[in-house]
Every structure is written in C-alpha cells, then in structure tokens.
C-alpha cells in the first residue's frame, strides 16, 4: 500500500507555510515589522529536498546538537497530471489524491530566510500510509488533523481553517511553476506545534486518510 504511494508521489515536495488562519493571525502583528514589513502577499513556499523523504513506520532521527524538534501534521496533495497555469476551476482535475504528511522541522522563530537547516534534514518528511484517490474524499476542506505523541492527543485542527484552499494553491503556484505529476503539495501545518524527544511515537491522523506513524530515535 505504502509502496504505491511513494512510486506515484516521487516528485518535488512543495511546502506551504502559514496556511492556517490561526497560525497566520498569531504572527500578523509581527509581520508588519522589520524584516517582513508587510504580511505575505502570495503563498509562502518552501521545498523539502528528496533526502527528507520518509515512510509510514519509519524512524525520524533527532539530530545531535539540536535542542527542539517538532512534527508538522499536514494534508498532502499528490499531483496526478502536470499543472501549468490552471484555473481554480480546473485545479482539482490535476490531483491524483491525498495522503498524510508529517513535515518535521526545527522550531521556526523567523520566516525571513529559507529554512533549509530547519527543514531539509534527512528523513524530515514522512508521507503515508497510502494514497487515497481524490474521489474518495468528499470535501478535502473539512478534514480533521490530529497529532498524537505516545498516544496522547496534542494538536488538532481542521483543513476548514486553510488560508488558501487546494484549488487556489494549485492555481497560484502553477502560474509561475509547473506542478508535475508526482509532485506533492504539503498544504501547511496548523498552529501549536509541539516538541518531541527520542523514543517518542508520533502519529498523525487525518479524516479518511488513515494514520501515519513514526518513531523518533537519537542520532
């Protein structure tokens, strides 16, 4: 099941930051100040490089010398057909399906510079357990995301709180870069990221998509 997902979703992993209303609202006052000067105009994007790929039930390495590590529960949208300059109305016809993403990161105090050191470490992007076809999800904007650490519920939100919905993201991104078949759009992590430690079991549950499990191990 998991292998099928990783064969299909083998392209670039594009992340969207600040795509939950609660997270954006928390930071808006700060975003009027330097170095930001104004709130973001377009989607705030980052790339999870291929070395970050990880799987359901995979181990996530807690790096030596790092003080804090945080899971990032997110809905993953897997592109099924190249999308260049598509309208919002056409956008979902370019989607193969959905999966769960756990976008691990060191804490982000600042959004000013690219977060390569925080986000591009080996194994910091778990995907799985499966690719759920687009037709199997009635409304991708009504899904509950729940994060469990050692079976305790520690973070919960809903995709109803997106700043930008899936169709709008695909339309805005594909205006300047083609989303290729196999690319994955990581639609954002909500506010309230928590810290995890070596030995922890981390699960992300999204309505209709199952549960993505990873364990944290010391380097």
């Amino acid at each position: 099941m998991s292998r099928g997902l990783h064969e299909i979703a083998s392209g670039t992993l594009f992340g969207v930051a600040l795509n939950y209303q609660g997270l954006l609202q928390q930071r808006l006052a700060e975003f009027d100040q330097a170095p930001y000067k104004q709130p973001p105009i377009k989607p705030v994007l980052f790339i999870k490089t291929p070395n970050t790929r990880n799987v359901h039930q995979g181990e996530v390495v807690y790096p030596t010398g790092v003080e804090r590590l945080q899971p990032g529960p997110a809905l993953g949208v897997v592109i099924g057909k190249d999308a260049s300059r598509v309208s919002q109305a056409q956008a979902l016809s370019h989607v193969a399906g959905y999966t769960i993403v756990n976008e691990f990161s060191l804490p982000e105090d600042s959004y000013y510079r690219p977060a390569v050191k925080a986000k591009c470490r080996d194994g910091f992007c778990a995907l799985g357990p499966a690719l759920v076809p687009v037709d199997a999800i009635a409304d991708p904007h009504q899904l509950t995301l729940t994060l469990y650490v050692n079976n305790e519920r520690v973070q919960e939100n809903t995709t109803a709180n997106f700043v930008r919905g899936i169709a709008q993201l695909i339309a805005e991104l594909s205006e300047f870069m083609t989303l290729h078949a196999g690319d994955v759009l990581i639609t954002g992590t909500p506010e309230g990221r928590v810290d995890v430690r070596p030995g922890d079991r981390v699960d992300v549950d999204i309505t209709g998509l199952g549960r993505l499990t990873n364990t944290i191990v010391a380097e």
Binding site: V44, S84, R113, P114, M177
Partner: protein
Amino acid sequence: MKHARIRFQGQDHAVTVEADNAVRLADGRLLAEDQVQWLPPATGSMFALGLNYADHARELAFTPPTEPLAFVKSPGTYTGHNQVSWRPDNVAYMHYECELVAVIGKPARNVKREDALQYLAGYTVCNDYAIRDYLENYYRPNLRVKNRDATTPVGPWIVDVADVPDVGNLALRTWVNGELRQEGTTADLIFAIPYLIEYLSSFMTLQPGDMIATGTPEGLADVVPGDEVVVEVEGVGRLVNRIVSETRFFKNNKA
C-alpha cells in the same frame, strides 16, 4: 573531460563534449553543438547561495552574512544551454546572475572541507535569473522570484574537477547582446565550495546530482525579450540563453 546530457531525435543521451562543442554519443556518433537540444547536466536539488560575494552584498546594501544564506531550487526551474527563459509581462526588473556550480558526485554527509572535493562530480555554470518585482520577505528569496519554470539555465556540461585546478581564482563574466555587463572572480567568494559542502553536509546528506550554486558578483542589470544572455565561468563553460516574452513562451510550450 566534459560530460553533458542532450536530446537528439526524441531520445536523451549522456555524451562527452569534444572540440567546437561537438558531442560524442555512446554509440560513437559525433553531433554538432547546434544539432542537439542541450539538457541540464544534473537534475538534483540546487542549493543556491545568496549574498556570497562581498561586492554583490554591498550592491544590494546587505551586510555580508556570517553563515551561508542558502535557498533551494527544484528541477522544474532548470533549462539547458541554448534554450530560452521567459520574462513575465509587466515586471520592472528581471536580472541574470552568473554562477559557478559544484555538482555532487556521491552522497556527502558530515564531510570536512579538506575532503570536500572528493565528493564532487565536477563543475558547471548556471544563470540564476531573478524577478525582483516578486520579492517578499518570507523565505527570501522566495520561490516566485527564483524557482520559475525554465528560468535557471544550467550547463552546458559538467567539467571534471581535475580539469579546473584553481577553482578559487576563476573569472565570471556575463554578456548581454555581446556587451560585457558583469565581471567578477571566484577569489571574492565569501564561502568557498569546500566550506559550503562542509556546511550543508553537517545537517543533511547531499545526493549525487545535487548542485551548489555559489552566488554571483556585482553587475546586475535588467534583461528583456530578445536579449541574448551569455554567462561564462573561466575554464568551466559558456552558457547561452535567450529571453522571450511570457506570451511567446507559453504559446510555444502549450499545445
């Protein structure tokens, strides 16, 4: 030796480059430079450096960084030698950036700078175009500025490390329509290639085909449709690109 990837009669080939940029296919055929479509010579992730030349940092009124400022580019933005890049309609400032690129040859994790060159497949050249109108102060430089379709020419080839004995002292030059517009030297790099490999591999594994674009010196200027832009790194390669309009690019690239 120079190694390239080209497309010929609908097939992709790994080739070596000979005199006058003729390419030798694995089956022995020799094709002229203008007979083939040049592809990017590597297709991994690109780690591009911002503000890595002291003069350029000054030009942009920035204090030189104390830690490398790296941003990531994905393969969709690459294009090859002798291809076109597009300028969006209604923007004020699109500029070229001539850069020396180190190409990773084998997985690199926790590599010390004195060992770094052993991890290279070789060197190439890129033109790291930017659309400055779209700069925002979030993950700056943001993807809309730097990760646009076909807006990062790379190539023409990868040259072996042994063929570039003094990588710390190479001239970089950019010509627009034959006029020299940018000139610098890798001697002015703030963070040199061995340091960058040590830095990046200290927290992640660099993969074969990944590239480190080392940044650009001062001398940026606007380019417009119709311009021919040539970026050259001495002893590595001369990479040619032409600017077309957004309208023309998408007319030619969509059926």
